[in-house]
């Protein structure tokens, strides 16, 4: 009798070990399948235009990831994308679809540019953190307001955040062309150029600015917060089923406002680095669409902050190759937007397969019968 028990025990534990893996496999396989589908559909689109898809994808690889130079270009674009994706992914863990990160980026940039003009003579050690903090604060307030509107006034967060992004861009245009305009910026209205001491430089050994390291740390920090702290666990309960969270007495409103604000702070930081490391002043270039690409990244990464890192690098590489592809293949500049659109439709469509690819149930089929 006891022999039988000893034989079955290892088999059971192997299965028990496989079950959690199987539960997560879907989270990797579905977005991957969506990505491939998006690429394939776009290839078809290229064929219809009379272009060679193989040439296209080869060029994207070369210009995005082929050489050290292309990696530098890709990594530089990755920094704002990582932070913009966090602005979607962090609220998403509470079940919110926030798509207005662009607004927080833009306002963060204006805040950094404006503060930079005021704090020009201050020591960098004080002025730079102040600028970063200001950018994060305005971003947090902006997206936190979206969460507050939802909790207290029942306003849909997706629409509110999108509309607030338009308001933010209009506000930036007003400030940059009016009160904050540097009289010397003639062609392109901008805030006063930052003092050299207040610029964020490149990391030693790379020609990529420090914003990338901060963005990586932000992703890791967000993952730790969500997966390893009790605060993150509360947020996951509320995201998994808000009624269950309410019955458990969890402070859902505080969590929603806090997590949306945190996401907005990340996007605000992206604006800070765009101004202080890339452009040197705040101007209309801030509204470059990073906020929107961030939505795609977060959805592809299934709102897992760690998965955002590779996905953001991929999308950054695709964006970095845009110029080369346009020149070599004579494609219009909207090409990359079309590709992103194809991928986004595929990832949204793949959501309907969620739960159908249930390996856990398949593994436990023997026990249920």
């Amino acid at each position: 009798m006891s022999a039988g028990v000893e034989i079955t025990a290892p088999a059971r534990s192997a299965r028990a070990w496989l079950v959690p893996l199987a539960g997560r496999a879907e989270g990797v396989l579905l977005p991957l399948a969506a990505l491939v589908t998006g690429f394939a559909a776009f290839a078809l689109f290229l064929v219809l235009l009379g272009k060679n898809p193989w040439t296209f994808y080869t060029l994207v690889y070369q210009a995005g990831f082929g050489t050290g130079f292309s990696w530098t270009n890709t990594l530089a674009r990755a920094a704002p994308l990582l932070l913009a994706a966090l602005c979607v992914a962090i609220p998403a863990r509470l079940g919110l679809v926030v798509i207005g990160g662009e607004g927080a980026i833009v306002l963060g940039g204006v805040m950094a540019g404006g503060l930079g003009a005021v704090l020009g003579g201050w020591p960098a050690l004080i002025a730079m953190p102040l600028m970063a903090l200001g950018a994060a604060l305005i971003g947090g307030l902006w997206i936190g307001a979206v969460g507050a509107l939802r909790q207290w006034r029942g306003v849909n967060e997706t629409i509110a955040s999108l509309l607030m992004a338009y308001i933010a861009i209009a506000l930036m245009n007003h400030l940059v062309e009016g009160p904050l305009r540097d009289a010397a910026s003639l062609n392109k209205p901008s805030t006063a150029p930052l003092a050299e001491a207040l610029r964020v430089g490149d990391m030693p050994g790379f020609s990529v600015h420090w914003g990338l390291a901060v963005a990586f740390l932000a992703c890791i920090g967000a993952w730790v917060l969500i997966e390893r702290t009790t605060l993150g666990f509360s947020a996951r309960i509320a995201g998994g089923n808000v009624r269950a969270a309410q019955v458990q007495g969890l402070p859902v409103t505080k969590l929603v406002v806090g997590f949306t604000a945190l996401g907005g702070a990340c996007a605000g930081l992206a604006g800070y680095f765009e101004v202080s490391a890339v452009h040197g002043s705040a101007n209309a270039s801030l509204a470059a669409g990073y906020g929107y690409t961030g939505i795609l990244i977060a959805f592809l990464a299934r709102h897992n902050p760690l998965a955002i890192i590779p996905v953001a690098l991929l999308l950054a590489g695709i964006e970095a190759s845009s110029g080369l592809v346009q020149r070599r293949m004579e494609l219009p500049d909207a090409t990359m937007t079309v590709l992103q659109g194809f991928i986004f439709v595929a990832i949204l469509a793949s959501e309907t397969f969620t739960g159908r690819l249930d390996l856990t149930r398949w593994l436990s089929r023997g026990e249920r019968a």
Partner: protein, 515 residues
């Protein structure tokens, strides 16, 4: 073989009950066999009850008969002839109809309008005067009637159910499947409706196959009974020959439910007190008004009522999900707003209805779901870092204690069956000291074994000194568990009595708002 389908108008004139028979009907979904060679025979004009626990295959069988599913193998005979049913429309043409558990009437329309629009051959322009004359003639030929020009939303549940049955007769159906037809009715209404159905069968106008789990209704109204268990036909016979114990034994097989827990003598101070509570209901139009409600330690207070009379709103008030416009809620004398701190300090636990929907995050694991009450507790204080190892060990202990069947505590809780989800949630909510337990429909849709086990856990919590507030639409459950019975109707508590003195007809009248 295929007779031309009769036009609806012609079929309305057709008379005489239809008998049906399934021969070795088998239905497989992948590797799962939901129905295993089930043969049943419903003679023309008989009232046949179909008994079985949840998941026994009752719904699968009737869906095969109605053409929603195509059986993997086996045949359906209608009046002794091959009656292959392609789809529900085909079933209707052959005179088979079904009355669902929940109403399928349009509330804003009158009975007459509902009847006319349910026809397949509604003309583009309806001559209402003519239709009403025809309908009056139809009603006069029926053994029972409903007001034709009354909007459905003003009808009582029993009237609606009668209208559902009349609708089937109006559409020319001569074989009816009733899917738990009395679950939304008071006992009086149920008896009236089923009495009419029985009379229709006796007159030879109709044959009925009724899905139910209420033995009382089977003995009182049915002629024959068939029992299914795990997809198999395990017994059938004349109702007159079978006792409740026989039927229960067939339904459960070898498994034995836990014996009901003994009711210990307890007496305690009030734990939960509601005074003058006012709130809006779901529609925002009606008021929920609880003037006074108190639950003592060591007491189960049952709130009976028909679904939709404010029980859900009361649960939401108690869980802090619904704002109140007036009144006070106190636990152990302290003001209570159902924050997490208060729930922990005052030892308040909840078991909402449909736990997967209301008390779990379906895609999180069993271990995480079991951890919802305790994840940030570290002794008396709170912790910042999550302790997944501790969470898993606690879950494994509770899963073993409460016999939750799951492949692993890491499996998503949505993969568990309803009974096991309820056990998992119960294990979470009853772990540790409990002073107040608030429960809503804890056994809805669960099988015998799970029901008995969950009820005995609730009784054990009471015996250990917890104050229990039990809201349930199942009067039997309330009468089994409660010390004191309250009846809720139209958002108010309209009746109170000690469980020992409870009289079912009286409770029923108050539930229906007729007293």
């Amino acid at each position: 073989m295929n007779a031309p389908a009769l036009p609806e108008a012609a079929s309305r004139v057709r008379r005489g009950a239809v008998g049906i028979e399934t021969v070795g009907m088998t239905m497989r979904f992948g590797s799962f066999t939901a129905l295993d060679a089930v043969s049943i025979k419903v003679r023309p004009g008989s009232f046949h009850a179909l008994l079985g626990e949840n998941g026994a295959g009752k719904s699968t069988l009737v869906k095969c008969i109605m053409g929603f599913y195509h059986a993997t193998s086996g045949d359906l005979l209608i009046d002794g002839f091959d009656g292959h049913v392609r789809d529900p429309r085909d079933a209707h043409a052959k005179g088979l109809g079904m009355v669902y558990q929940h109403f399928t009437l349009v509330p804003a329309l009158t009975a007459a309008e509902n009847l006319v629009i349910s026809r397949a051959d509604v003309p583009a322009v309806v001559d209402w005067a003519e239709e009403l004359t025809a309908l009056r003639a139809f009603m006069d030929a029926m053994p029972f009637r409903v007001p034709l020009t009354e909007p459905v939303h003003r009808m009582a549940a029993g009237e609606k159910q009668k209208l559902e049955i009349l609708k089937q007769l109006y559409l020319g159906r001569r074989f009816l499947i009733l899917d738990e037809p009395t679950s939304v009715l008071t006992p009086d209404e149920a008896d009236e409706v089923l009495g009419h159905v029985k009379a229709l069968c006796a007159s030879g106008a109709l044959s009925v196959l009724m899905i139910t789990h209420k033995f009382r209704e089977v003995t009182a109204f049915a002629d024959e009974v068939t029992v299914l268990r795990r997809g198999r036909h395990v017994g059938s016979g004349l109702v007159a020959d079978l006792s409740h114990a026989d039927m229960a034994a067939m339904m459960m097989g070898d498994a034995r439910p836990a014996a009901p827990a003994a009711r210990a003598e307890t007496s305690g101070a009030p734990v939960l007190e509601l005074v003058g509570i006012r709130a809006r209901d779901r529609s925002g139009l009606k008021e929920i008004a609880i003037d006074g409600l108190s639950v003592r330690a060591g007491e189960i207070v049952g709130i009976a009522g028909i679904s939709g009379n404010g029980q859900m709103e009361l649960m939401e008030i108690l869980t802090g999900q619904r704002a109140t416009s007036a009144g006070t809620m106190r636990v152990h004398g302290a003001p209570y707003r159902a924050t997490r701190g208060e729930e922990r300090r005052l030892k308040v636990r909840y078991l909402p209805e449909e736990p997967l929907h209301n008390a779990c995050a379906p895609r999180m694991s069993v271990a995480e779901n079991i951890g919802f009450r305790s994840f940030e507790a570290a002794g008396a204080g709170t912790r910042f870092w999550l302790a997944p190892g501790e969470m898993r060990r606690r879950a494994e202990r509770l899963v073993a204690d409460y016999k939750v069947k799951t492949t692993s505590v890491e499996a998503p809780i949505a993969a568990l069956s309803g009974g096991n989800v309820q056990r998992a949630v119960l294990s979470r909510e009853l772990d540790g000291e409990v002073d107040l337990l608030i429960i809503s429909n804890p056994c809805f849709g669960l099988d015998f074994i799970a029901v008995a086990e969950i009820r005995s856990r609730i009784m054990a919590a009471r015996n250990a000194g917890a104050a229990v507030l039990l809201m349930s639409e199942d009067l039997d459950e309330i009468l089994e568990l409660a010390d004191r019975v309250l009846v809720m109707s139209e958002g108010r508590i309209v009746y109170e009595c000690a469980a020992a003195e409870a009289d079912i007809p009286t409770l029923g009248r108050h539930m229906g708002g007729h007293a």
